[in-house]
Amino acid sequence: MHVEVLKSELELEVWGRLESVTDPELDEPITEMGFVERVEVTDAATVNVEFRLPTYWCSPNFAFMMAFGIRQAIKSMPWVKQVDVQLNDHCFGDKVNEGVNSGRAYHKVFAEYCDGADLSEVTDKFNAKAFDRRQETVLLGLQAQGRDPKGIVAMTLSQLQKVTFEGGEEAQQLPRYLDLLISQGLAVHPDDPAFPTWEGQAIAAEDVTEHLKRLRSTRINMEFNGALCRGLAKTRYKEVEIGPDGPTLVDFITGRVLPGAATPVSS
């Protein structure tokens, strides 16, 4: 009994830790996207995580990044001795699983498939998009508080750190924006401007409207992709049955593992 309780507590802890792993393309936690379908702690030191993406064809580099992200997040918990990450039903799944569980460094596994190139180009591109999306939400939140463009672009890092939002997306995104701002070195000192562009340029008060238009495109694209991914994940294993009242979606397919199933059968 005691062991079972401990096991489920540790599993909860793992689920919590997995919230820090994001889909780089969407900048959303993989747990929220429903990608993680099984977490098992076998002997208080070994963790098995299985995840599944919305389609068989999702980009392998993002699949790799998420797999390594999971591994890293779990390994950072002091009680964990071993991690096994399993990507299910994906066109590059075998290679991803072999790479992430090989114990070899992230960049070495990648280099095999990139003629020695690293992932910095892709990582930069999607960090930039994530930054834009988070920044837009914060800027719109500040606007909604009645701040004018001049006041907003003059804000410093320490001033922004003192801002509080009453819930909503801006309350969620503010700490995430600050994280990226600081970890990317875009604002280091308390007096540094809180709203540089991704390239590190200052934004003039009269350019805020134009700047927001560009951020808006990025956000709409990401939201659209997020909606598509969520939808595809939901219907990936469904089929249509035509009954007396017309067509309905049925949740059952013989021999297939349903996303989120309690006891998945290994394929």
Binding site: K125, N221, V240, P247
Partner: protein
């Protein structure tokens, strides 16, 4: 022909349709199965419930289904049938030009059958372009950059081998290049859906029209930026369209972006048949208005005039179709299903 509630007749040219065979008998391996399964997930995810098809029908539908869904029940006047081989996944090709052409022969005045080629085939690709021009007099091709070909798991429009093919297309008057940017697999160091090769190809081949299907989704933002700078880049609305039902507000945001960046003259309707059927898409599209707050922010709206361009006039222009003459021709030969 779509008739508006006040009786106006709207010419509909469906820019992106298929006549595929994804059935288990035609699948070569698990990838073939997963490919059609993925299409089916798009279908089940984004269709209204009363429009859902059973899997077996979705995998392989008949020529009669095409006629009925596009022209009898559906409002299309004409449809562009795209070819995609996926030879590594399907024994006789996923949708071959020969199969589509023989299906279209019953009503040739209603179809434009496009070809396809794989630049990685080198000299053979060039020979194949000649064959398609001579045999089927193609006006356009569909490019699928994520297609697997042996060890290669994708290619880019600005690869030297691709440029040779586009030079030949230009020479032979194959002017419409439809591009589907699927996920390329290797190298992992690049964004698998990157659309920047469109920029190079469109700049270097000014005589060709580059129709980017799905508006570059999932890279709509990058696509908008490119399309706004190139006069010969168009956006195909397939995949964006069905959001009009499931997420109408997103659809409004996407349309507002596209109208603002790409413009009303460069957007092409496509049902992506048989993933979706055109009847409900066109009806909902005609009824649709971009929500006021979004429309005001971008200063755009889907007026009737703009909808008419998107539904058919824009595509007619790049395929050299005289719409009035075509309407008269079609009025003289209505589509009818054979008695059962």
């Amino acid at each position: 022909m779509f008739k508006t509630p006040d009786g106006k007749e709207i010419f509909v040219l469906d820019g992106h349709t298929h006549f595929w065979d994804g059935s288990p008998e035609n699948q070569s391996n698990v990838h073939g199965k997963q490919f059609i399964d993925c299409f089916y997930a798009y279908h089940t995810n984004l269709s209204p419930e009363d429009q859902l098809w059973e899997k077996a029908k979705f995998e392989k539908y008949s020529a009669d289904d095409v006629y009925r869904d596009l022209f009898v029940d559906g409002p299309d006047d004409m449809a562009i049938i795209q070819s995609t081989y996926l030879s590594d996944f399907y024994k006789n090709g996923f949708s071959s030009i020969e199969r589509s052409h023989s299906m279209a022969e019953r009503h040739p005045e209603r179809f434009i059958v496009n070809g396809t080629f794989d630049p990685r085939d080198g000299e053979k690709a060039l020979e194949y372009i000649h064959y398609m021009k001579e045999t089927f007099d193609i006006k356009g091709v569909k490019m699928y950059t994520a297609e697997w070909n042996g060890d290669s798991k994708g290619w880019a429009l600005n690869d030297p081998a691709a440029y040779k093919c586009f030079e030949l297309c230009d020479k032979l008057g194959i002017r419409n290049i439809h591009v589907h940017k699927g996920p390329t697999i290797i190298p992992l160091s690049k964004d698998a859906f990157d659309v920047h090769d469109v920029d190079y190809a469109a700049t270097d081949f000014q005589n060709l029209n580059w129709i980017i299907e799905h508006c570059g989704l999932p890279r709509l933002d990058d696509f908008c930026w490119i399309a706004t700078q190139e006069t010969n880049v168009y956006g195909g609305l397939a995949v964006a369209m069905p959001f009009i039902h499931s997420r109408p507000r997103y659809f409004g945001e996407v349309m507002a972006e596209l109208l603002w960046w790409v413009g009303e003259d460069k957007l092409l309707f496509g049902s992506d048949y048989a993933i979706w059927t055109p009847q409900w898409l066109v009806e909902k599209f005609w009824d649709y208005q971009i929500p006021d707050d979004i429309a005001q922010e971008r200063g755009v709206q889907l007026t009737d005039e703009i909808k008419e361009k998107i539904l058919g006039l824009n595509a007619a222009k790049i395929y050299d179709i005289d719409v009035e003459a075509k309407k008269a021709q079609l009025a003289g030969s209505p589509v009818q299903m054979a008695a059962e």
